[in-house]
Amino acid sequence: MPAQGKLREESRSGAKFENNHLFISEPNGAMLMTRSKVTIDGNEAAAYAAFRVNEVIAIYPITPSSPMGEWADQWSAESKPNLWGTIPRVVEMQSEGGAAGALHGALQAGSLATTFTASQGLLLMIPNMYKIAGELTPTVFHVSARTLATHALSIFGDHSDVMATRQTGFALIASNSVQEVMDFALLAQAATLRARVPFLHFFDGFRTSHEVAKVEELTNEDMLAMIDEELVQAHRKRALSPDHPFIRGTAQNPDVFFQERETVNPFYEACPAIVQEEMDKFARLVGRAYHLFDYVGAPDAERVVILMGSGAEAAQETVEHLTARGEKVGVLKVRLYRPFSIEHFVNSLPATVKTLATLDRTKEPGSPGEPLYVDVATAVSEGIATGKTPFKTYPRIIGGRYGLSSKEFTPAMVKAVFDEMLKEKPRNHFTVGIEDDVSHTSLEYDPAFSTEDPKTVRAMFYGLGADGTVGANKNSIKIIGEDTDNYAQGYFVYDSKKSGAVTISHLRFGPKPIHSTYLISKANFVACHQFSFLERLDMLKAAQPGATFLLNSPFGPEEVWDNLPRTTQEEIIKKKLRFFVIDAVKVARDAGMGGRINTVMQTCFFAISGILPRDEAIQAIKHAIEKTYGKRGEAIVQKNFAAVDHAVNHLHEVKVPDRVSSAFDLRRAVPEEAPEFVQKVLAKIIAGEGDDLPVSAMPIDGTFPSATAQWEKRNIALDIPVWDEEICIQCGKCILVCPHAVVRAKIYDPALLKNAPPTFKSSAARWKEFKELKYTLQVAPEDCTGCTLCVQVCPVKSKSEVKHKAINMAPQPPLREAERDNWNFFLRLPEADRRTLSLGQVKDVQLLQPLFEFSGACAGCGETPYVKLMSQLFGDRALIANATGCSSIYGGNLPTTPYAQNPDGRGPAWTNSLFEDNAEFGMGLRLALDKQTEYARELLTRLSSNLEDELVKSILSADQTTESGIQQQRERVRALHAKLAGMKTPEARDLASLADALVRKSVWIVGGDGWAYDIGYGGLDHVLASGRNVNVLVLDTEVYSNTGGQMSKATPRGAVAKFAAGGKPRPKKDLGLMAMSYGNVYVAAVAMGSSDMHTLKAFLEAEAYDGPSLLIAYSHCIAHGYDLVHGLDQQKAAVLSGYWPLYRYNPDLARLGKNPFQLDSKPPALPLEKYIYNETRYTMLTLSDPQAAKLLLQFAEEDVRNRWRVYQNMAAMPMNGAAKEAK
């Protein structure tokens, strides 16, 4: 490899600690000048290159890869051409399995085709990957590597998904930075065409996919030079065509399969050299030299770490730091991991090496070592055995794991590995970055060790999702990257909750290339964009001495000091921070920006930091504003300009006093009365200290206690609802719609009011049968998100001032303490006796305790009220299988979870399997329950002679169709347990372990439309057809909400969604009608905002029906683009317009000879446009393509008419076929 050797020499002999990609070994500086510098993230970099070198792109959304598909779709919609001047065709499939299948087909038919995916999505592609590789088909899959779900789901990055494909025959190539992502996306394409081995190009999810960095953009000329036209033609020639027919994909027998399987070997043997040649060609062309294995470090290194992915950059930074101190260390970055070239590998290492440490970002329990370790051990051993290594001695090899699920991987950890290698007996199979106090695998490290370049500016910004902080910082990084000579990097940490979400932006910039692929822990600029964060987060912990602190404060420079917590004051004094304040809320409001303080704070950052001269900075910010908002209208631009212009005048430096004066400090993460696990584990996660939890603190099998959301008091609402007991009619509607279960009511004995807090409100209960009781409607002040749906739905208006309702919003802070006491008192009042309530009435049902509370769903969420209603009605006996998506995230994302327990300790048992298999998973729960019940009944019969006859008989014949029936059965089972406790036979013990199955259970299969209509439809269909008694709740938001609004088959015609940028051209699939066609499925379409009674009835009927039930619930969603405060009105409008007819299909009616289909809403009475044009998902099309909008509206109106006609006819039929047969 002469070319490789030469470049290696250059990179070793040149400034070896300089970045060896961007600025060394540039053969042609002039060429570099022609390429533009762009500040983009890893996903965009991958999509940029992939889009240009492909013709067909089949995708399916999955975090963190979704943006790659979205970019491709957008460019395709914007008619951007690929390298050959034609617009790539982008198609969204129903699952990654579907995408891989479509891709396989496109490749077989001779197209250049690609896909983007991650994690479980990649696993779904594996069957096709074997086929694609087995058929030697050139393609590149671009993967933002993500953790595979094991004991828990994680959306973050590691290599467990990629490692699960290393046996497929795909070449695996890793890029470590945003620049490399773009470069390798092209390199891989060039290589696959030559090698005929398909490639999987991967980079670390989030760390690289979402890192914004300044990179040099490859040009079309670069790409044309890299992609060999003849190879493209050759690929097409190999395609299936009836014009020169052949068959591919035969079935083979023992006689020949093996032999043919071995025919591919020469291709895999040739592949590494091909990749290196392409890398060399790229280096000559672009100036960045890469190798199959890139070594950085001392030429005479004795200790070398080996790894791939973004962690290699942190390792490089550490190596450069340590070698500058004379240490003989190095890092080997693995680029081409498959096919693994032993020869290239061993020759990439210094001959002087004594100890090698492999670092794997994955875990293979039970294996002799993680994949890279095993490969390195094999390679070294084989290399030595064949005499091909340069080593003077047989190097010692150890391996360890790091960075699972984007766990931080810092220079301090790299140093710990190097330190370990110095030991006489270094630990093998170690972990680094955690404290493993169970298996004692972890290496200790000194978190204070830092390799940050003093010339690099490190800035951290704490913002609220809604205030636009991240967007502004992305703009700032672009400005710094593109308007200055600085290198720039931006990384953004998001919340696990969707309402009141805290964001932390980490920005680095400076004159030297940035290899710091880890969060900032020593900042010289800290900005707090929300004053209320001060009492929750110790944000100055990361500020280094002399740093600058910028605070958005309602208090001016004179008053602010005494309003800071003690810790904040101490840190400002101790670290001698420069301290600035601005009332950004006021400036933004005056500029007409509402709560968006982003431009104000951005301007202040530039004003203080002095990166650019002030005027230049302001110009640049304004330019960025024009670019971002210009197309949305001049008014928006002007408002932002006004915010910029006024910001600087309102920025003040605070004269810092020399002593701490504050009487208060940071709030506790959870109250003192919280249970031990919550105190010891969850509280740490809430406080942002989860990284410090040792292995022993964690559950071993993914099991967590439920009912923990109650301990996380987030205080995110500025205003909370206040009850007016004088005018309230106690209808319960506000309680029903509350997405976060913060509005509750109880009826109770007036005597219980004796010890009530002074401001606790009550009034006489308005129930005929509970006249003697008191009624209280109470709000949880610290859990409310301030969405105001409760006020919106309240039907009562004051007679003297109509805007005053029976529930009204008022500022939270003055109410917080008193209402907290009231809430705690309220919780101690007894829960309603379920047996005494009339569960067909909304009013009564809203006295039931919700067993789903305080979730992290968006403020105003349209899904959670349905989930909550289900929990009120059936939660004490429900098992829930939840498809991955919004409902599994707000349902089960740490730190705290919303499924709760009643005073008896009963509550929903909740679980999540995958996205695609939820129906089957839920059916599995049912099968187990049914079998357990059956076996328990058998045992009961077998043991009846030893038990009371009456007890056995009453258990076996119990009527459990009512609340009292169920409670009586619970009593009987309790009695049974008591009897069984005294019996010693195996059968008695068996029955004791299964007796609870004798009480009726309710199985719920919950998920969104992405699951039910698309990826999980096959399974759902099968489960519905099975006849099993499961209840399916489809929370239909009509898009993939959780991954950011991609089109599903539930998306209505004419709505804009991702992958339907031009408005969805085809109508929504009628899932209900399809399910009804079975005849034995209970089906209902509900919309709580239109008729809560209808919703309640459908839930009760669905659960009561002894067979599969399907509830399709209209769920308003942030992805519809309007203020969710109007969510219920929109639901009403959807029904009024005929778009969402309410109906119930009850097979039990057919058995009675009646028509099972009941149409429960009136014929369309509102023009469709009056409904849809309240929502941005529809109006944006009228703005972007008015003609298409008009046409699609006409079609959509036709859809409504047609659907109504069908339903009307169905409802008018005297009875169904089954009844006729029965006759």
């Binding site: 991240v470 919340d495 509402g594 001049e634 909400s1041 950011g1044 942030i1118």
Partner: protein, 336 residues
């Protein structure tokens, strides 16, 4: 041959029947039918200043809502290459209208601040409108705002728009000024080429069942014509600007009265919404019949013939007449 032609702020019109701003003019095929039925000019539906700002703000708000908060959903919508916001769609309609019919097309702007008006007005002019109607619609709700300030706002707006356009500018105003003649004169001085009397205020109604304020827009009746006749008759000859009557013109008699009071044209919307576009032809026919019967030669002949300065008893338009009307009201048939 009776001559129905008239001139209106410099445009020669074949008759005084102008179609006022209404949803009818949103459809090109309706514009053609208007022309065929005898309309002399068409005022297009208004471009609302607020609408532009609200559309733009809402689009921005809802595209931003919930973004950059949660790692899995950093955005919720595809970001389009461009949006047809602001006056672009409107201007496109002006262009199409011009291409569809041969009669003058008058653009209409509705708003209350100088803001983006100049820019929008220019764009409408560039799109080919023959004239522009400014519908200044300002509802003062502040107790601190004086009448003088409100009037100044009107005049500033007119002179700003006028100085940046070369096409004629008509100003549609309300009757609610302390001194309408003075206001008319000041608008005249500010450069208005025509005054359109009067716009009809949106007056919300109350829904008693739901205790809500509900939007309410009633079509005009001939009864509303009287207020307009009165003021046109008073202003005629005192302002340079041409006068137009809108609101309450439903019959040929209404048109003739308007002409006699001193209007150059009438602008109609309610009459067409109620009776259909073909009503224009009926009006024209009825006018001709009346004029023929009464031996009028032309519309011009009658314009202003019954204005205050032309009638025998100018006091008929003044307070003395009011006293007379009150005292002459017959109490016969009133249930007492």
């Amino acid at each position: 041959m009776i001559d129905l032609s008239t001139t209106y702020h410099g445009l020669n019109l074949k008759n005084p029947l102008v179609v006022s701003a209404s949803p009818l003019a949103e459809e090109l095929r309706n514009l053609r039918r208007m022309e065929d039925s005898g309309a002399a000019a068409i005022v297009l539906p208004s471009l609302f200043e607020e609408q532009i700002n609200v559309e733009s703000s809402e689009l921005n708000l809802f595209l931003q809502q919930g973004t950059e908060s949660f790692a899995e959903s950093l955005t919720y919508f595809p970001d389009m290459t461009g949006y047809n916001l602001g006056p672009d769609g409107y201007c496109e309609h002006v262009r199409r209208a011009k291409a569809a019919v041969g009669i003058p097309i008058i653009g209409s702007l509705n708003g209350s601040s100088i803001g983006g008006w100049i820019q929008y007005a220019r764009k409408i002019q560039e799109a080919g409108a023959d004239a522009l109607e400014l519908n200044i619609y300002y509802i003062p709700t502040s107790t601190e705002l004086t009448g003088e300030e409100v009037e100044k706002l009107y005049c500033d707006l007119v002179s700003e728009v006028k100085s940046s356009l070369h096409i004629p500018v008509a100003v549609k105003i309300s009757a609610y000024f302390s001194s309408l003649p003075n206001m008319a004169k000041r608008l005249d001085q500010a450069g208005a080429d025509a005054l359109v009397l009067f716009n009809r205020f949106y007056q919300p109604d109350f829904d008693l069942e739901n205790l809500e304020v509900v939007p309410n827009l009633l079509l005009s009746t001939s009864h509303e014509l009287l207020l307009r006749l009165n003021w046109v008759a008073i202003l005629f000859g005192h302002v340079k600007a041409d006068l137009a009557i809108t609101g309450g013109v439903h019959t040929a008699a209404d048109v003739l009265k308007a002409m006699m009071a001193g209007a150059r044209v009438v602008a109609m919307a309610s009459a067409l919404l109620r009776n259909g576009i073909g009503h224009l032809a009926t009006l024209r026919k009825d006018m001709l019949a009346w004029m023929e019967e009464h031996e009028y030669e032309s519309i011009r002949q009658m314009q202003g013939s019954m204005s205050q300065r032309a009638v025998a008893d100018p006091a008929a338009f003044q307070r003395a007449n009011y006293v007379r009307v009150l005292s002459s009201y017959s109490m016969k048939g009133v249930p007492l």
